[in-house]
Symmetry: C2
């Protein structure tokens, strides 16, 4: 992939950068980015305030980096799940399960995304929107290669992809609100919702 220089200096710099990101993410569990202080982050990361500027210009820039870290590695994953074999019911269950697993594994990251998707920091909002748009396009592309997609316009595929992605985001934040003990119920409802959408999809061309 990208060049990963092994200089002691570079690695140490990356280590501090990651410490800042981790500290910020931990603090963002109970507040939003626009109220996150630069000093607050550096204190939690065990670094002086000035060191922050070696890595990020703003707390906003740090937020954008967090967006990349969270969503950047997810591309292709959803599309992959959708293109796996199995009937639509199976694929549906698997999609929801994948989401639940990821959210359970790194809740702080997804809480951050849910919170800042409409949050007060413009650049971060834009970064999230861009990533979600890419997801929608990927899903639309995957759907377009299915057998049932004959006769669907590109616009409608994008509409459907966006619907799935938005539903994925909603499910994510609902999972976070419910906590581990409420997960099963949330998954149940999410599956039903997806099934309803799938049924609508199957009959879309009948009544378009």
């Amino acid at each position: 992939m990208s060049h990963t220089p092994v200089g002691i200096r570079q690695t140490q710099k990356l280590r501090t950068r990651q410490a800042l990101l981790d500290a910020a993410l931990a603090l963002l569990e109970h507040q939003s980015l626009s109220s996150l202080g630069l000093r607050e982050v550096t204190r939690a990361a065990g670094v002086t305030p000035t060191a922050f500027y070696r890595h990020f210009e703003d707390t906003a820039a740090l937020g954008v980096a967090l967006v990349e870290e969270t969503l950047g590695s997810l591309h292709g994953l959803i599309a992959a799940v959708l293109t796996e074999t199995g009937d639509s019911e199976e694929r549906l269950d698997r999609s929801v399960a994948v989401i639940a697993r990821h959210v359970g594994a790194q809740p702080a990251h997804f809480r951050f995304i849910a919170r800042e998707q409409h949050g007060g920091v413009g650049p971060v909002r834009a970064a999230i929107a861009a990533q979600l748009r890419r997801f929608a396009e990927e899903v639309a592309c995957a759907l377009g290669q299915e057998s049932g997609a004959a006769g669907w316009s590109e616009e409608d595929l994008l509409m459907l992809g966006g619907l799935y992605v938005d539903h994925m985001v909603i499910t994510t934040s609902t999972l976070l609100e419910a906590g581990p003990e409420g997960e099963a119920e949330v998954v149940r409802v999410a599956r039903r919702r997806l099934r309803l959408v799938t049924i609508g999809r199957a009959h879309w061309l009948d009544e378009g």
Copy 2:
């Protein structure tokens, strides 16, 4: 309704209270509640910081009041639109139109809701969640009285009501992001999404 005492004192108090709410709402256009300062609000409202405490304990309490102001008056409205006569296509268009009109009329209020729905202030999140749950129940109730609702379990009606409400919220924030010039396109896509859900609804019992 509620008692509205006409004392000079009471009215003046309500006036400043409203000034605080309006000032806060204006400031919240470009930031989120958790970064909103008490002094900032009072400065914009033209009062001293100490006066704030006569009306709200916190900025969080002010946020809850804003939630009530925005969503409290909307109850019954959606259900009313849904129970009006006309075929499902008409009702669907009317629902989207009503949303677009409300968002266009008071964008700041709805931006606030979208932003704080997953924001960093717990009590406000809870207040919004409670209101949205009420909406979902109202929609579910309205749907239950339609002719096509025979055979639907109460749980599935609630699932569907929640789906509609969540979609309403998404549409709202998408409208806000798009601005007035992008409104037509957003409305187009929102209508299509709703139509797909409606189709799924019509065939729900066939394949349940």
